[in-house]
Symmetry: D2
């Protein structure tokens, strides 16, 4: 049976056995990526339960390949795969994206110190009169046998292996309020969250603000330190396998994550203080509404067992994820 | 042989076999605690290598004991044990405090929501016109058999066990610049860091700013969530066993921690952004000076494997600890 | 000669004597306003030198008219007049908007305390668990004879006159990077700057990020305190008279203002600290490039004679304007 | 009658006619200044109504005198004159300091760019990895005939006159809570507020936290830009004439200012956002308690007529003064 191709012959929908989910395939290339989260012509349409098999380019559009390649080659940051129109998703619903599998798509990752980007140097939004830091690039060979990336110092012989933890730095929907937002920015719509939580085994909940939700993703990281302080993770192209679901009539204001162990709420703005306030008040609301604890009991409990994951302090908005293990919560009261 | 008692007959120095460290004992009570880090008459003197066996009151001075006890009973926050004069410590040296053992001193801990204190409500330094939250207290029975504390919700029947991780919320020396600082505040001198890193198995490095360093500690926590968002940990009195050493001629600006796995640098101020900048620039300086990596290589590496521990976002200054595992670093080049 | 009407018969271009500027008239109503800065079908086209005579609705869409009217009546915040396509404006140019005259369009202004909006209460981006403040509305009769608005206390008999200083809270172009931004937000494109500098006698310089620049305005204020701390100015509909010019090949990153006395640079983000850093580094760049002072001399001089205007600390991004009087600068070296 | 000399023969109390205030004279020199606000042996005692005629050294201890003098010569920042014990002042009272006259004490002022200090460069508490700015000094001849200081550019021939507005950058009492604080820091006790409001014609209200209040002052500025962005004002030694009064039983948490036109409340911390929240909630409390307006009416009114003076964004804590003109307030209800 012939596959079913859609725009530019790049979207493939595979027929499946009755009980198996439908698999949709889509191949992102530099000619079909986007640089803005917003309403755009969809590159494909997904139904609740569908599995999408696709890929993403790295945050540089895959152009930094060898020593001597510079940021000047980059045509746009964080090229995005998508958007995918999710059938039946309406404003006020929640889009649940289950990340099934992420595999580094290539044999090396890239890290870069780009002047004006980073937590410990002057930036566009924290400008200073001090001189710039120099531009620098580091290459990270990916060793799939050991599931590691290899750091090699530029200024000495030090080299060390870093375990892979592949995740999507960018994952988002069309923003609320009719906005379109650059792929470099995180916010209510998700976006450039740089959340290691966007990895296999996690469900990512995103607000639906427009008909079809408009799902985008990209900016794969093979691994990343907390805070992403130097401005990049180990930037890689990625093979992506995920499924989508729509929670009808469930409204959330900010992205959320869930895995077997924990529930997690995200906040994004500046300073970190306010990102944390958003994340924790969202998490308390979640615990209150779905697990039946009072707000003050939830607040107290988080003061004793809550965890903070500062995803990044380098993008235009900073991202904090507030985490609590389900084992500390009463049984869920809302389905 | 008779023990050697000093001021108020509360300091006991035990003679030891040749090779064993000298053990000094001191008992803190509500009548000998302090509420300020600074220069004061020492309650005892310690030599490099000495082991101190002592105790601390809880952050409320042990007065919140049963339902109905309110914050109005508290005479002063964070009563401190000390100061101990460290023989041979001079400005420009570093005091190394090795935490040998911490045991909860009692059968229950206390958590409290005190209006004006917390990350998610208005405070003295983030005042708002919104109405106050109510004052609330939670009691946490300590179960030493299972090494847990028990959370019991106020507004529902939910109850859950929390593993103990005892640490000293307060640990510090006399501040630099001739300052004396309230026991509620963290800063260059350590102080109310609320760092879970101040626990058994860790060495805490503190700047020495005055002759004798003047070591204080207190504010034991049986456990605490990251960020301590509701304003308290599980507040307990503590039995404390630690040893001290002096690193002559080693100058640090901010507290540092070390254990078998990691090195860790602390920053404290507002907003969290600046606390993080302090912590990570200090950690990079440490890596550069002691492990021989260039600053830019260290910056890049931390962007890939660094960790952020937001100790608290509730005290007058907020505390971030930047962490890197030694396994990622080259061999130490400076002793 | 017949006037020339364009879309919806609402744009009127008046023929003029040779030397006089062309006057274009446009009437904004609730049916033709926009709620997003971005690329949209223009409601009119202006040439350099044209004078636009138009109007704007108040920030509530003119629906809060009498005691008992509540925020629930408001369909969207800050309805915008426009966009106007400016002939010849290309990305990399600067749009100069000269504000010729602003007159309050009506007989009363409105102030409102909307829970979740304001500098001294919890907000969407600084959420707290404290209870909300109540919603409140104040009406300000406009007395054109004395050029004042009248404040009348809600909870007492106090009443006092406030001198009018009419300005446009919203003034902006399409944002850079392909973004569309809600009319509530200020940024590089101008937007909801709430700058009293957007008043008669000032020229407002805005970055041109798309062909035609796309000029929008609205959110008239009859007067406003610095910081706009309670969340609103004296909100009014406005009669607007302005002219436009295009500075070809002059690229600016952030809005700027100029009047006879001063040059002024704007920064917008959170916290205020970073908005100030943007504003002052922009002002130093301006002084350096156009007036020939070195950056360090300009920095020093601003430390002695610079002024700070905190326009607002209530919108999603906070706005600081850095000001220096031309009398302190050397003669302009660049035209 | 002989003058009455106290410690080091430097305090002179002049007998006065019955109705005139007693005049106390005290001469500060580099050998009797202090570098910490706190409890110390007083250099003199003042009674309510006394006039103090004294002086202060400049913030560098008067050591930067000629080109080539560097920051390395400075023994301590902000040497303070005092403390003066105020008879009858007890914790919970308010000390009112009326500034009668300030005269620049010398013929030149100094401005300096000290690496690590300033709003637009990396600092101790906003550290960055970017390279330092160079150290620079500017000298400002004081022309008493025209009441101006003369700015002379370092890198060009530009020179311009700046009107004098002499004020005391430092003015404070012993801090609350038993703290001693460095003379570089502003806070509840006043301290290094860098407030142009501490000038002739203003009354400065300071909290009394210890018996005798312990009044200190110093750090005269001949003029200063708002925000003091480059890190210094026009730093000068000062001749000081002030009188003191004690408001028994009036407790304030933060410094306040008053002149014929306005009442003003100060907040100090980081980020600027929180300093502003402190200043405005204090001003609203003042209006509510002394002028009888409800808090919400006062909030609304300040949103329309309030002013913000960002005194400085360079010291360890940032200082905001919230201002309202008395002409907007109802008659005072509390004396």
């Amino acid at each position: 049976m012939k596959p079913l191709w859609i725009p530019a012959a790049i979207l493939l929908v595979l027929p499946q056995a009755q009980s198996a989910p439908r698999v949709v395939r889509y191949e992102a290339t530099i000619t079909n990526v986007k640089y803005v989260y917003g309403v755009a012509d969809p590159v494909g349409r997904l139904r609740a339960g569908d599995v999408l098999e696709s890929n993403s380019l790295d945050c540089f559009g895959n152009v930094i390949r060898k020593p001597g390649d510079t940021m000047a080659l980059v045509k746009g940051d964080n090229p995005l795969t998508g958007p995918f129109y999710i059938e039946g998703a309406e404003p006020g619903d929640t889009l649940a994206v289950k990340i099934l599998d992420l595999q580094v798509d290539g044999t090396q990752g890239v890290g870069a110190l780009a002047p004006g980007f980073g937590a410990l140097n002057k930036t566009n939004y924290t400008p200073m009169l001090n001189p710039d830091l120099p531009e620098r690039v580091w290459f990270y060979p990916i060793d799939k046998a050991t599931n590691t990336a290899i750091f090699k110092a530029n200024d000495s012989g030090h080299t060390v292996r870093i375990p892979l933890h592949p995740f999507l730095g960018c994952l988002g929907t069309a923003p609320p309020g009719g906005e379109s937002r650059m792929s470099i920015t995180p916010g209510e719509w998700g976006g450039n969250m740089d959340s290691p939580q966007a990895s296999a085994g996690h469900t990512v909940y995103l607000p639906v603000s427009v008909a079809g939700a408009m799902l985008y993703f990209g900016d794969g990281h093979a691994a990343q330190g907390e805070g992403e302080v130097a401005g990049t993770g180990i930037e890689v192209a990625m093979r992506v396998r995920l499924s989508v679901d729509v929670l009808k009539g469930r409204k959330i204001k900010w992205p959320r994550f869930e895995n077997d162990r924990s529930i997690m709420a995200l906040g994004a703005y500046r300073p970190v203080d306010d990102a944390l306030r958003i994340a924790f008040t969202e998490l308390i609301a979640w615990i209150h509404e779905d697990y039946g604890m009072s707000e003050l009991d939830a607040y107290e409990l988080l003061g004793k067992v809550g965890r903070v994951d500062l995803n990044e302090m380098v993008d235009p908005n900073y991202v904090v994820v507030a985490v609590v293990d389900k084992s500390y919560l009463p049984p869920k009261t809302r389905r």
